[in-house]
């Protein structure tokens, strides 16, 4: 029998990068085929090519043995290929049903959509695969896990036989991952072929029938999970050992740098999204906050950095009440911030690197003197950040969007670190960046910690949390529900706390 998918000699260049370089890939009918590779290895690009979103520069695609040329996702869908993207592709202001049927609308006369038929079919699909979702909810009201389900239903709705899942576990907690894996196995049982992208190796080993590893756009090899260890895979991926976050010896001091007491932040309709949070971070300490996304971490961070007003409670920075102090003032007092979404919160993409290097510190020396900017100072600092934090760029005159994500992140971390803050809020500091950059960021945080930096680390990467933190607190529905010692907690335990399972079970 012909393989479900056969890619030969796929090459794809972007300005300055070869994202895919002569890639060969064979996926057998009915298998779960995992694709691993570090950030920027070209996984998504390859999948987009297979899905018709981007034309390859060269190479051929065979589906069920037939050579095809894909110019649009519509063609791929026609061939029974469905893709769940790395980022949610859902319109918030539309209903689940509208999102799902889009592009495959059941029709009545006069171009009308047969919503009833769509709803029935959606429910049917949901029941068949155990994906429970209300068709008429607005997507904006859904939680992350539910959105993920909608994405999968979208694909199944069109009867896709070949499913591409691009890092579906990135935003899920372990329990949700289990749920997802159950779904995937069911899909496989019903005859679907699944391409599964992930770089969490234990997950890959758990679910995959076959694993293909990409590195810098090239296929490194194809292996069976039984034949390799996570260690082997890691080596294949990056050519050396996978770095692990490790805090090293404790440097925690007695001196409190950041203190929150009784903090409450109201969300829509006066509901508390951050509820009575009391927490202190000492100099030299890294406090990790674990939690499923949407449990108030974002609002907590916003309140600390000053872009959202708490309606109760006090925030103290280095002994001074900053609850109602402006963002700028807080920053001048020594509050550093690495945002989770660097494009939205961290950078001015169209601006030069040296302008970006000053963002958030433009009132401080050497970036400015009084009301005047100092271009010399800005450029000097930017060059220093470039050197010290290994930002790979031809020069500091290019605009920020020319950099890869990892380098952008290094720039941001560097910018915050050179300002020598007393407290750093690191919000998912390594999200979506490659291993090299990840290791560099970890090193930077550790170094600063040893110099007395107090860090509040919010992360979805549980290994990162456990590896870096001196203390971990778990946030659930706006409250801090547990305080754990990273030395004796596993990601799985942590997941249980995050979902509330551990609390219900009456665990410690």
């Amino acid at each position: 029998m012909a393989p479900a998918i056969e890619l030969t000699g796929i090459t794809k260049r972007f300005p300055g990068v070869v994202a895919n370089d002569d890639i060969h890939l064979e996926v057998a009918e009915g298998e779960i085929h995992a694709i691993c590779g570090e950030n920027g290895a070209g996984k998504s690009t390859l999948m987009k090519i297979l899905y018709g979103m981007q034309p390859p520069d060269s190479g051929t695609i065979r589906i069920q043995g037939d050579e095809v040329e894909l110019h649009s996702p519509a063609q791929a869908i026609e061939l029974g290929i469905g893709m769940v993207h790395q980022h949610f592709m859902l319109a918030d202001q539309l209903t689940v049903l509208e999102n799902v049927i889009l592009g495959a609308e059941p029709m009545r006369s006069l171009g009308r959509i047969d919503f009833q038929a769509g709803r029935e079919h959606l429910d049917e699909v949901g029941r068949a695969y155990g994906l429970d979702i209300n068709a008429d909810d607005l997507v904006e009201t859904l939680e992350v896990g539910e959105r993920q389900r909608v994405e999968i239903i979208k694909v199944l709705y069109r009867g896709a036989k070949i499913l591409i899942l691009d890092e579906p576990t990135a935003v899920l907690v372990p329990q949700e991952v289990d749920e997802l894996f159950r779904n995937i196995r069911e899909l496989k049982a019903s005859g679907a072929t699944i391409l599964f992208i992930d770089h969490k190796l234990d997950e890959v080993l758990e679910i995959a029938d076959t694993i293909t590893v990409l590195r810098q756009g090239r296929t490194v090899g194809t292996v069976k999970p039984g034949e390799v260890t996570a260690h082997d895979l890691a080596e294949m991926m990056i050519g050396s050992e996978l770095p692990v976050p490790d805090a090293g010896a404790s440097t925690v001091t007695e001196e409190v740098a950041l203190e929150l007491s009784g903090l409450r932040v109201a969300g829509e309709g006066d509901r508390a999204v951050v509820d009575d949070v009391t927490l202190s971070v000492h100099r030299g300490e890294i406090v990790g906050i674990a939690g499923v996304e949407g449990n108030g971490q974002a609002e907590l961070v916003n309140a600390i950095i000053g872009i959202q007003d708490p309606d109760q409670g006090v925030i103290t920075l280095l002994g001074r009440d900053i609850t109602h102090v402006s963002v700028r003032h807080r920053r001048e007092m020594g509050l550093g911030y690495v945002p989770q979404d660097r494009h939205r919160d961290g950078l001015l993409l169209g601006f030069t690197l040296w302008e970006n290097a000053a963002l958030g510190h433009q009132t401080e020396k050497p970036y400015s003197r009084g009301p005047w900017l100092s271009r010399l100072g800005m450029r000097g600092r930017a060059n220093r950040i470039k050197e010290d934090f290994d930002v790979r760029t031809p020069n500091i005159e290019v605009s920020a969007h020319a950099l890869s994500g990892g380098n952008q992140q290094k720039l941001i971390v560097g910018r915050e670190m050179v300002a020598d803050p007393a407290v750093l809020i690191a919000n998912h500091p390594t999200r979506g960046i490659d291993v090299g950059a990840q290791a560099a960021v970890w090193d930077d945080i550790r170094d600063a910690r040893s110099r007395g930096l107090a860090t509040l680390l919010v992360s979805a990467d549980l290994d990162e949390l456990i590896g870096l933190s001196d203390t971990i607190v778990v946030m659930l529905r706006g409250r801090l529900v547990a305080r754990l010692d990273p030395n004796d907690v596993t990601p799985r335990d942590l997941g249980a706390y995050m979902t509330g399972a551990a609390l219900e079970a009456g665990a410690p």
Binding site: Q54, G103, R112
Partner: protein, 419 residues
Amino acid sequence: MRAALDRLPSWARWMVYAAVGVLVLTVVQGFDDTERLTAVTSSQAMLRWAVPIMLAGLGGLFSERAGVVNIGLEGMLILGTWFGAWGAINYGGWAGLVIGMGGGAIGGLIHAIATVSFGVDHIISGVAINVTAPGVARFLSSEILTGYDGGSITQSPRTPGVGRFTFPFLAGGDLFGWDTPDVLGWFARKDWFFVSDITGLVRGLVAQVSLATMIAFALVPFSAWLMWRTRFGLRLRICGEHPTGGETQGINIYLYKYFGVVISGALAGLGGAFIASPELSGIYLEGQTNGRGFIGLAALIFGNWRPGGIMAGALLFGYPFGVGLRDLDGSASHALLLVNTIALLAVLAWALNRRRRIDAGLAAGLGLGAAVWYFLSTTVPDWWIAILPFVIVLVVLVFFSQRLRMPRADGLPYRKGEA
């Protein structure tokens, strides 16, 4: 009462609100000894003046629902007036409307090419169209209209219009040659408090209505139907909400954006043709759009990117426009001050009910101002009526802007394959 209202379908709820509004108008006009506020002719004038604004707003709707901000509506309206007049003069009233749409659609197409294909900033492209359209219209006039008897570089000969229609029974229109009874007219002539007023107003909406007006108003539910019931509408909306999401589901986003923007131009063009039709001007005259494209944009935002809202916004502009022009002795304009006061009192009640202190304060202040002015004067200056529609919309937006939601991806650049 509140619960009862909430149980009604939204169209019925709006009917109730409208009836309450008419009741207020009826009561208030008594104080100023005028009948203009609820005259049949007032509602007819309101319709006439609302149509181009509404069409421009609907045009904006199609464009912005497809994610393209259309500040070029004014220019498309101008093209519509020229082509509409030219078409009507040469081929008759109906052709005028169609050709006017075509003229506007050309403007839309240019906007689409610039914004969708070339990724030009939407505002910039729109402004460019606004700058270019008058020049093109003038050039065409100098090349073509000057050759017509009665035409010139700035104006055309008189344009023919399309027919009118009177609804049978409601307003006594013909039904297959049978002269039906004029039910609303009968009530309206009775001089019964409120009943006659509301029937009069409603009769104005159904008697001697231009077919073009009827088409324009039919476009409101049609747009809503198209937008929320059809495949075309769903695909159009995804362009404004999450185009890359649509792309991944096999939708040709560029194509639908083009559709949206070209339809937008066509609707604005229809609005322009309407202005040049005998319903309003009866000729093409340079400068006659008078900024209605921008007002349409205001109606679009006011209407929260929904057809019904746009219609409400257009009527809210159209009513004071029409009544103000017809108000020869200024009595109605003066009475409108009291209407404004009452409306602000209603806002005050709403704000107090919701415990919105700032809104309440604002409403009280503005209401008090209007009341003081009303009671200390007997007439209002002409300029006040000229700006009243704008003031009303501004005030409404001051209170209700926060509840507006524009399409998520409206105005954002989109390029295929960059997901």
